[in-house]
């Protein structure tokens, strides 16, 4: 260090922007409450279908609200709080702009409020974790850019030349999330609240899971790893176990993660080489993931006694342990054979919550317990309550995870059980649902416990803030800036760490390699589509029915992808082909089978069966847990909007005939009339020729009936 009378160095006073961190912290606490409440509601709805009260409170609409609230509202606000708090302190400067910080905060909360309103209304793009419609998508991107400008602006005016590893994780997060979100949301609007994704079928599937998996990687993993690298050393007051390991960890993690998306599409119609690539990189990911976890855990070397006395350390260590468990299970589930058992079952739901509750939840809780007393210049109100919170939370996660693991494996085994004659042991899907129903209640209990622990934190934080001094000061520090030569000569990676721009470009290259190799070939989809297999597009009425299917969130419980495994073929028919979904916007291959696959549902049941089933599923299948959709019988079809929808689809490459394009609504009305007449003959009293149920029935009866099997 240069001496104090060094003429080249000067001391400046830096006042951190703590106000914005306080705001994001409180927003985190608020939204996590909402996310968990909705979570408990949807968990109970799965066990007790009568809890689907009205249209906007059905499972299919609330489930996207739960996931969006957990990811963007809870995790989002938590990482913004942590990133703004730690970055200022790591590079010894105030945030770039107070105005942008405020805009970022209020813009993000506004987006969340829009999501809370639109998702229950059924305004959805029908892509998991990307359900928000195009006007909100634009807002998300704008606010993200505000965040990026504020963050990189702060980096530019930093007083500490070297960028600590946490900052790298933040940079990778900002870059990659922007790229993922924009590419995945490219669409053409057909109205203020409806759009068609540009990608179709297999392309959409690949882009969606490239996005979906890397939302987990770059929204729920890298920023939280950055937070771990800052707050864990702070809390135990010793440096990270191995800084070198963190360098290797960072580069391998971001390079490998981006390839892993196809493991969400194993045993499907996705080309073999992509499935293999996804599996290989997912298995390899185990190494960098554990590199990070081990680095975190070993930071406690010689300080393990803190685990007994300090609840914050408890939360951190448990979070990292859950991270290690989830990143062990992830690669395991990415092996094709294991995936054929686990995919579409509740095992995946359990896996996700191991990460969401254990890793993201506990790390955020630890961070909140750590920063709240500092931000409000006081002490934590009660350590004891924090300890109780920890243990109730652990119990909640265990209940949740174990019940979902048991449910998933049980149901997966039942789906594939074959008797000596080669027939299915449980041909009725509902049999496999009844078996796991009690576990749904245990899962809800786990959720209630987790929320219960959190309520203690709410109280604890409230009491802590209440005992804070009236006039809150922003933390002010003296920073010495030396303009003379740095302490040590800089070469290679050292220099790189000091050069934010070059570093950012290298990180961008690291994530682009996998993205380009996987996605670009699939965009030339004609390589995979067999043009001899003619596929008819959905008629205008069927298209409308499909939009209703997407709106009601049917995809949250039903897949449309018969996998290339014997038990799927036995149960549902020949494996799905790429051609069958080549016009589907968005693709509806699905990720969960709470109900059976629907890829070849068409013509399996008469129209009346569907009518009764939608009106009251339990009138047809006694044990069904599907919500009833009585409003579809009374809501009318917007025939006028159809012309635009068909025209846009046509522009995107769906081969509609000239008659379909010019007389769209007439043709739709014609088909609706036919279906309504049949229903009338079979005993339906009302005339439903202009009702949504008719469009939905048209669509359901068309599934798997368009050729190219």
């Amino acid at each position: 260090m240069s001496s104090l009378n060094d003429t080249n160095s000067r001391v400046v006073q830096v006042k951190y922007n703590d106000q914005i961190v306080r705001m994001f912290t409180l927003a985190t606490i608020f939204w996590v409450t909402i996310a968990m409440l909705v979570g408990i509601i949807v968990a109970l709805q799965l066990a007790i279908p009568q809890l689907n009260f009205t249209a906007w409170l059905t499972f299919g609409r609330l489930r996207p609200l739960h996931t969006n609230a957990a990811i963007y509202a809870f995790a989002g606000n938590a990482i913004f709080a942590g990133i703004y708090h730690s970055t200022q302190r790591l590079i010894k400067t105030r945030l770039f702009s107070d105005g942008l910080s405020q805009l970022h905060f209020w813009g993000w909360q506004f987006i969340i409020v829009l999501a809370v309103i639109t998702l229950p209304l059924g305004i959805s793009q029908g892509k998991e974790f990307a359900e928000l419609e195009w006007p909100i998508d634009i807002a998300v991107v704008l606010i993200w850019v505000v965040f990026a400008i504020n963050f990189f602006g702060t980096l530019l005016k930093r007083n500490e030349k070297h960028l600590y590893v946490a900052i790298w994780f933040y940079i990778a997060t900002i870059l990659t999330v922007a790229l993922l979100y924009i590419v995945n949301a490219i669409c053409i609007p057909v109205g203020l609240f409806k759009s068609y994704i540009v990608f179709a079928g297999i392309q959409d599937a690949l882009v969606q899971w490239w996005f979906g998996h890397n939302a987990v990687a770059f929204f729920l993993t890298t920023p939280f790893l950055g937070l771990m690298y800052y707050y864990l050393p702070k809390a135990v007051n010793r440096p990270i176990y191995s800084y070198r390991l963190s360098v290797v960890h960072f580069w391998s993690l971001i390079f490998m993660y981006i390839w892993a998306g196809p493991h969400h599409l194993l045993n499907t119609a996705l080309p073999e080489w992509l499935q293999t690539l996804g599996t290989v990189f997912s298995v390899m990911l185990w190494a960098p993931s554990w590199g990070g976890a081990v680095n975190g855990i070993l930071t406690l070397r010689g300080a393990w006694h803190l685990l007994r006395t300090n609840p914050i350390i408890k939360f951190f260590v448990a979070a990292i342990t859950f991270y290690a468990m989830a990143t062990f299970e992830g690669p395991l589930l990415s092996i094709k054979a294991v995936n054929s058992l686990g995919h579409y079952t509740d095992w995946i739901v359990g896996h996700v919550h191991l990460g969401a509750l254990g890793w993201n939840g506990f790390l955020s809780f630890g961070m909140i317990y750590f920063i709240v007393p500092k931000l409000w210049s006081t002490e934590l109100y009660s350590k004891k309550l924090a300890n109780i919170h920890f243990w109730i939370g652990i119990l909640g996660i265990l209940f949740y995870y174990v019940s979902m693991l048991a449910a998933g494996i049980t149901q997966g085994l039942m789906w594939r059980a074959v008797d000596a004659n080669g027939g299915l042991v449980y041909p009725d899907f509902v049999e496999t649902v009844i078996r796991i129903l009690p576990l749904f209640l245990f899962r809800a209990l786990g959720g209630v416990l987790f929320l219960g622990g959190f309520v203690l934190m709410l109280y604890n934080v409230y009491k802590t803030i209440k005992q804070a001094p009236k006039e809150l000061q922003e933390e002010t520090v003296q920073v010495k800036i030396s303009s003379s030569a740095p302490v040590h000569p800089e070469r290679g990676h050292r220099k790189l760490e000091g050069m934010a721009a070059a570093f950012t470009i290298l990180a961008l290259i690291a994530i682009l390699v996998g993205s380009i190799i996987e996605i670009v070939p699939t965009l030339s989809v004609n390589k995979y589509v067999n043009t001899e297999n003619k596929v008819e597009p959905f008629t205008p009425l069927e298209l409308e029915g499909r939009d209703i299917y997407v709106k009601e969130g049917c995809f949250t419980c039903h897949s449309q992808m018969i996998r290339t495994i014997p038990s799927d073929v036995l149960r549902y028919g020949a494996a799905s082909t790429i051609e069958e979904s080549m016009y589907d916007r968005p693709f509806q291959w699905g990720s969960k089978r709470t109900g059976p696959d629907l890829a070849r549902l068409g013509k399996k049941y008469p129209d009346l069966w569907h009518y009764m089933h939608m009106e009251d599923p339990r009138a047809v299948i006694k044990e069904s847990i599907m919500p009833a959709y009585p409003w579809l019988i009374t809501s009318t079809i917007d025939f006028d909007s159809l012309e635009k929808k068909v025209a846009v689809s046509n522009k995107l490459g769906v081969p509609y005939s000239d008659e379909d394009l010019s007389d769209t609504s007439e043709r739709a009305k014609e088909q609706a009339k036919k279906i309504a007449d049949v229903l009338k003959k079979q005993g339906v009293k009302e005339d439903v020729s202009d009702k949504q149920i008719t469009a939905l029935i048209a669509y359901l009866q068309a599934l798997g009936q368009k050729g190219a099997e």
Binding site: V11, S86, R89, L90, K92, E160, H162, Y164, V165, A166, Y229, Y230, P233, K234, N237, R238, P239, I240, Y243, R244, V247, V248, W251, S252, W273, V477, Q478, V479, K480, V487, H488, G492, H493, R494, E497, V520, P521, S524, K527
Partner: protein, 56 residues
Amino acid sequence: MKQLALSQFNDIYLIVIGFFLFFSVFIGAVFWVYRKGSKKHYDYLSKLPLREENLT
């Protein structure tokens, strides 16, 4: 050209080249990180979160 590149995806040599390229970059990075004389620098970096901000 793109079609040509695509048709190479099953080429075992391409896969092997890809593997060695990625793997040698990885090994190279590991050696670089653990190179001689870097300890002082990494110690400095790893203490960044803990450094006392106030000079007074």
